[in-house]
């Protein structure tokens, strides 16, 4: 049974807006031209391929549903389902045993969760008697969860290093002879298929190669399809197209696209192959797979980076243009508004708003059906409040540009022709500031993804139960004091974030150069 969370709905709206805008841009040369230029930049297309992988994962993770409970499981089901529910809310569990936990509210929150799980249990058992209709679990999972259910369910007891076969901490193990030895126990899942852990490197190599070959096969298929398509469009033979492509003679650097695609596919398939038997990025304190966490965090990062701008755009565009074009009192009021908002330090405004939200949510906990929904609402709220702090920059830019455009000859000519103000704004001003909007949207994205990490670190970011890179870093930093160091959670968050932000930054550079003629001449 599909569930549409608020952020899901907004993501779909965003995709729709994107498609509509794409169609609009395709029909308007002043937008299509710069985008074509972006499409011809090797850096940009490479970045785009990488970002497509992220977006793909993010979209898969946005298709939520209540999983159906198999009627077969009905007999002994409650326990099983509850286990499952546990697994999902698992990431939150890690805040509970936090020894150094100064965070009182954290433990309080987990207490609530426990309570809620109990509730969930109740609902499930309540649903049972009406057996004939298909029953659905109250927990919400996404398509990505379904695809990664292997990773999700293979939990260890606690820390384990990447590709490890043994736990990271010593435990008392009861030997067959009854004596108790303190040693590193074998993992329940990671490398469990190995009879002898010393065969690990051979197994890794073999599986890795197998994954790489699978990736290459898929890539070859895609490449053949692409060349055939290009050849068909250019009315060339397959061989000619392939030669032109590999010599870099095509307008769009397809060669770069294919190389990037090859790297990403090989990495993905290798990771999938190895991930099926190992924890390739290790496990965290409560034994959850770090690779899984990293993948789940992608959606959070993307949502923050995109929805924030989507939320702020209408206000920024409308107010900015109005202030610049109409001037006078309107200008004064709007300037006052954004100076005031801007003068409040951003972090503090976010902190204040999020703290207030927390108080509200704690006191009205019963309004939320599930933890996922509550976390989702908090994510949305974070986007809104980030939008409130970040719209002022764009608004000021647009005000300045509209102020200039107001005096430009073609606007004067339109006024001499008796065109109404609203029409002048829609027809003359808006299309001529759209490139600024686009540059801002692209430039802001990476900044917002980075901001999420910092905010979550200060506990005013996304809900602690939600997977995010900020939360990963936040929980991992406390383990830095361990010796030997537990580095993999940090490394994973770093790797995934850095790749996304770097790709976004590189793309933003190219987009800005393409759309801003002033800068184009400078570089």
């Amino acid at each position: 049974m599909p569930v549409i969370l608020i952020t899901d709905a907004l993501i779909f709206l965003l995709i729709a807006v994107g498609i509509v805008f794409g169609l609009y841009a395709a029909r308007h040369e002043h937008l299509r031209g710069p985008w074509r230029q972006v499409g011809r930049s090797p850096v940009a297309v490479a970045a785009l391929v990488v970002m497509l992988f992220y977006v793909g994962i993010g979209v898969l993770d946005s298709l939520h549903f209540h999983p159906r409970i198999e009627p077969l499981a009905e007999v002994g089901s409650p326990a099983a389902t509850v286990n499952e529910a546990d697994a999902v809310t698992g990431p939150d569990g890690k805040t509970t045993p936090d020894e150094q936990g100064t965070d009182a509210s954290g433990s309080q929150r987990s207490a609530e969760q426990a309570q809620e799980i109990t509730q969930a249990k109740d609902t499930i058992s309540a649903a049972e008697p009406g057996a004939s209709a298909p029953t659905y679990s109250t927990q919400i999972i996404s398509v990505l969860d379904l695809l990664l259910s292997g990773l999700r369910e293979r939990q260890e007891k606690t820390f384990s290093a990447p590709f490890a076969t043994h736990l990271f901490v010593k435990e008392a193990i009861e030997q067959p002879d009854g004596s108790v030895v303190r040693a590193y126990p074998r993992l329940e899942h990671g490398g469990a298929h190995l009879e002898d852990p010393s065969q690990r490197s051979f197994d890794l190599l073999f599986r890795g190669l197998f994954g790489a070959i699978k990736g290459l096969m898929v890539w070859t298929a895609i490449m053949a399809g692409l060349i055939a398509l290009l050849g068909w469009r250019r009315r060339q033979s397959f061989n000619d197209t392939a030669t032109a492509l590999w010599r870099g003679e095509t307008a769009v650097p397809w060669r770069v696209v294919l190389i990037t695609l090859a790297i990403m596919l090989v990495l993905s398939f290798t990771a999938a192959e190895l991930g099926a038997k190992y924890h390739i990025l290790g496990t965290d304190k409560v034994g959850e797979d770090v690779f899984y966490q990293s993948l789940k965090s992608i959606r959070t990062g993307l949502v923050i980076g995109t929805l924030t701008t989507l939320v702020m755009l209408p206000a920024a565009i409308l107010l900015g243009i109005m202030a610049g074009y109409l001037g006078g009192r309107t200008d004064d009021v709007i300037q006052y508004l954004y100076t005031t908002l801007n003068s409040i330090p951003g972090v503090l405004l976010i902190a204040a708003a999020i703290l207030m939200l927390q108080v509200y949510m704690t006191n009205n906990a019963d309004q939320f059906e599930s933890l996922v929904e509550r976390a989702d609402l908090r994510l949305l709220f974070l986007c809104i409040i980030l939008g409130v702090t970040s719209w002022t920059g764009l608004c000021r830019l647009l005000r300045g540009e509209s102020l200039k455009l107001r005096e430009v000859d073609y606007v004067q000519a339109a006024r001499a022709l008796g065109v109404r103000h609203s029409t002048v704004i829609a027809r003359h001003i808006l299309p001529n500031v759209l490139h600024i909007v686009m540059i801002t949207v692209v430039l802001d994205f990476s900044g917002l993804v980075l901001a999420e990490a910092v905010l979550s670190y200060v506990n005013i970011g996304v809900d602690p139960t939600m997977n995010s890179w900020g939360n990963m870093i936040n929980s991992a930093r406390l383990e830095l004091a361990r010796d030997p160091i537990v580095w993999w959670s940090l490394a994973a968050a770093f790797l995934f974030m850095f790749t996304l932000v770097l790709a976004a930054n590189l793309l933003a550079d190219v987009v800005r150069d393409a759309f801003d003629p002033r800068l184009r001449s400078a570089s």
């Binding site: 308007h28 040369e29 002043h30 430009v408 000859d409 073609y410 004067q412 000519a413 339109a414 006024r415 001499a416 022709l417 008796g418 065109v419 109404r420 029409t423 027809r427 003359h428 299309p431 001529n432």
Partner: protein, 676 residues
């Protein structure tokens, strides 16, 4: 040439990437003697400025000199190291640029900027440097040079800045001064000052000048010899006298014929069809062939050699290949397109009532200061202007930049709300009616702007731009009939209906100006305010636009308020002229009266400063001192008295009343009567 100071031969330079390089100058060769002024003449996009930069080896990033030789006083410049070349720049060759506004560093005092050049090209003790700076500033005619040296560029007027640029270029005592359009950005009275200054300096120092310009008048008045550049090549070289007596190349000839003047009033101006070809292609044959009325089969292939029609003229044109050939008197098939109706309209003038009456129009902008932004004064951009525009006539509003002529145009159309006065159209005072009531009158009053690149929304299709007024004023609501009408209009202005589905950037400046005219025509106006519609265009393109405007006036009976600073255009187009100075009209009358018998000292000075190609018709230039004062604090009494060569003590007392000279001619000057 044996005594050549600068000898350029076969200079070829390119810009841009290797795949499609733009060959900005291709096989350029010329020579300059010591002490002479050589003019490099050509329209925009011909590669004049790039040639100059190539001589200095200052091509922009990505530019390179492919081949050729540049010898200054026998020294080859292209093989020098960068360090050696630096001593040549400023030392051997000085350079001044077109835009004095942007060519000076805004955050350094002008004295320091000159001192920098002084120190580079002579080892002087510190105290001497300051003295030398003051000397230089004095030499370029800057009053109070010691004080000016400690000012920043923004505190100086445009003419002063250009003088500072000249002083800077002179600091190294160069043998050659390259002046790249030195007066294009200046008003004509200031232009006269600067040109005179250059000539004087040249006489004193004996330096040679390479003058780059598009203005034939400037060439005729200042240069000794000239080279005409077209599409990256020099196509004609001649002494100035020989050239203006009989230009040899068809391009030069067309260029000369397209300059408007009073003598050409009755006919159409000559136009050159098409545009300068882009320089990123490989040329074959003569580059002008496609636009040339005398084109022959042989023009289109091979290399065009130099021919010498007479001792002082060299030309790159096959028409002169036969030594006996003489230039054909008229282009084949062209008839002198005299327009007979001009006389009729001039007769009609006297009895027609004014269509648009402007009385005492004022546009003031408040100056706000202090704690509560109180208004402490006004910039009186327009301060009491009276104009009468008659049906089917052209009234030219002439003045230098900053005199408020553009604001008059905007005030009439209520684009800038007037502070006082009346704008009466068909008996209705447009300044008194609400914005909504203004809409029906918008149809009758239209405007064409100066900058063809800023006057069309780059995001709209040409068809939509032209149709915008019809749509908003409800003249043609249906989409299909509107498109049909737009197509007609585009045909009418000579663009063609197929332009409808293209974007403005696909058109050249002249074509865009035609589209703007079509946009104004679309609402079938009675009066069009033309705000310097041709001043951003090259002279041959200007001719096209002027022809078009004239034809439309005859066909449609339009009235024009033609705002301009270019006297030659006025004499060609206008029936009546009003001269503006500092927000007020100082002299008004028929074109013949004002231009041939100016009475106000300002008008006289203005007209005398216009460079003329005709040696015989040249007047003694009346030099005006200083610059136009600020319109926020106009001088007491006659606004012009501080600069007036004929001023009397009474001029300081009160602003002079309008003195009638004839029935139609009047001037605001108390000395008008003296001259009767």
């Amino acid at each position: 040439m044996r005594d050549a100071l600068l000898q350029v031969s076969n200079l070829t330079a390119e810009l841009g990437g290797d795949e499609r390089p733009v060959r900005v100058c291709d096989g350029v060769g010329f020579a300059i003697r010591r002490g002479e002024t050589m003019a490099l003449l050509g329209e925009s996009g011909c590669g004049k400025s790039m040639t100059a930069l190539a001589l200095m080896r200052l091509l922009p990033l990505g530019g390179r000199i492919v081949s050729g030789s540049v010898q200054l006083a026998g020294r080859e410049l292209l093989t020098l190291t960068e360090r050696e070349m630096r001593t040549v720049r400023g030392g051997g060759m000085g350079m001044i640029f077109q835009e004095p506004q942007t060519s000076l560093n805004p955050v350094l005092r002008v004295g320091d900027q000159i001192a920098e050049a002084v120190r580079l090209h002579g080892r002087l003790p510190r105290r001497r440097v300051t003295e030398r700076v003051v000397e230089l500033l004095r030499a370029v005619g800057i009053p109070d040079p010691a004080r000016r040296a400690s000012e920043y560029p923004h505190q100086l007027s445009g003419g002063m800045k250009q003088r500072v640029m000249i002083a800077m270029a002179l600091a190294g005592d160069p043998q050659l001064l390259i002046a790249d359009e030195p007066t294009t950005a200046l008003d004509v009275t200031i232009q006269a000052q600067v040109l005179q200054l250059l000539k004087g300096l040249q006489r004193e120092t004996g330096m040679a000048v390479l003058l780059i310009t598009h203005d034939l008048g400037v060439v005729a008045e200042t240069a000794d010899r000239l080279a005409v550049m077209y599409a990256g090549q020099i196509v004609e070289q001649a002494s100035v006298d020989a050239f203006f007596a009989q230009p040899a190349h068809p391009y030069s000839r067309k260029l000369l014929e397209s300059v408007p003047s009073a003598g050409k009033r009755r006919g159409e101006l000559a136009v050159i069809p098409g545009r300068v070809p882009p320089l990123d292609q490989a040329f074959e044959g003569c580059r002008f062939a496609d636009r040339c009325p005398f084109v022959m089969e042989t023009c289109r292939s091979g290399r065009i050699e130099w021919y010498q029609p007479n001792t002082e003229q060299w030309v790159r044109c096959l028409l002169w290949a036969d030594p006996r050939s003489r230039f054909l008197p008229d282009e084949p098939g062209a008839s002198p397109a005299a327009v007979g109706s001009d006389q009729v309209s001039e007769d009609a003038r006297t009895d027609a009532d004014a269509l648009l009456v402007i009385e005492g129009l004022k546009v003031h902008f408040p100056i706000q200061k202090g704690l509560f932004r109180r208004t402490v004064g006004h910039v009186k951009a327009v301060d009491g202007v009276d104009l009468h525009i008659k049906p089917g006539q052209t009234l030219a509003l002439v003045g230098e930049s900053g005199c408020g002529k553009t604001t008059v145009g905007k005030g009439i159309l209520q684009l800038e709300p007037p502070t006082g006065g009346q704008v009466r159209y068909t008996g209705v005072d447009l300044t008194r009616i609400a914005a909504r009531q203004m809409r029906p009158y918008r149809k009758d009053l239209q405007i064409i702007f100066q900058d063809p690149f800023a006057s069309m929304n780059p995001r709209m299709l040409v068809g939509d731009i032209v149709g915008e007024g019809m749509q908003s004023l409800g003249i043609e609501r249906g989409r299909v009939p509107r498109r049909r009408r737009v197509a007609e209009l585009l045909e009418q202005v000579g663009i063609g209906a197929q332009a409808m589905d293209r974007y403005p950037h696909e058109f050249s400046g002249g074509q865009r100006q035609r589209i703007c005219i079509a946009r104004a025509l679309a609402v079938e106006p009675k009066v069009i305010v033309c705000d310097e519609p041709t001043s951003a265009l090259d002279v041959s393109v200007q001719a096209q636009i002027l022809n078009l405007l004239k034809r439309l006036q005859q066909e449609l009976g339009l009235s024009y308020l033609f705002i301009t600073h270019d006297i030659s255009v006025v004499s060609y187009l206008a029936q009546e002229v009003a001269v503006m100075y500092l927000g007020r009209v100082v002299e008004q009358g028929t074109a013949a009266e004002v231009l041939d018998d100016p009475r106000h000292p300002y008008t006289k000075a203005l007209l005398s400063a216009v460079p003329s190609m005709d040696k015989a018709g040249r007047r003694e230039i009346i030099r005006l001192e200083g610059d136009m004062p600020s319109p926020s604090a106009p001088p007491v009494g006659c606004h012009f008295h501080p600069r007036c060569p004929e001023a009397l003590p009474e001029c300081r007392q009160a602003y002079p009343a309008s003195v009638p000279i004839t029935e139609t001619h009047r001037a605001h000057c108390i000395r008008v009567d003296d001259q009767r």
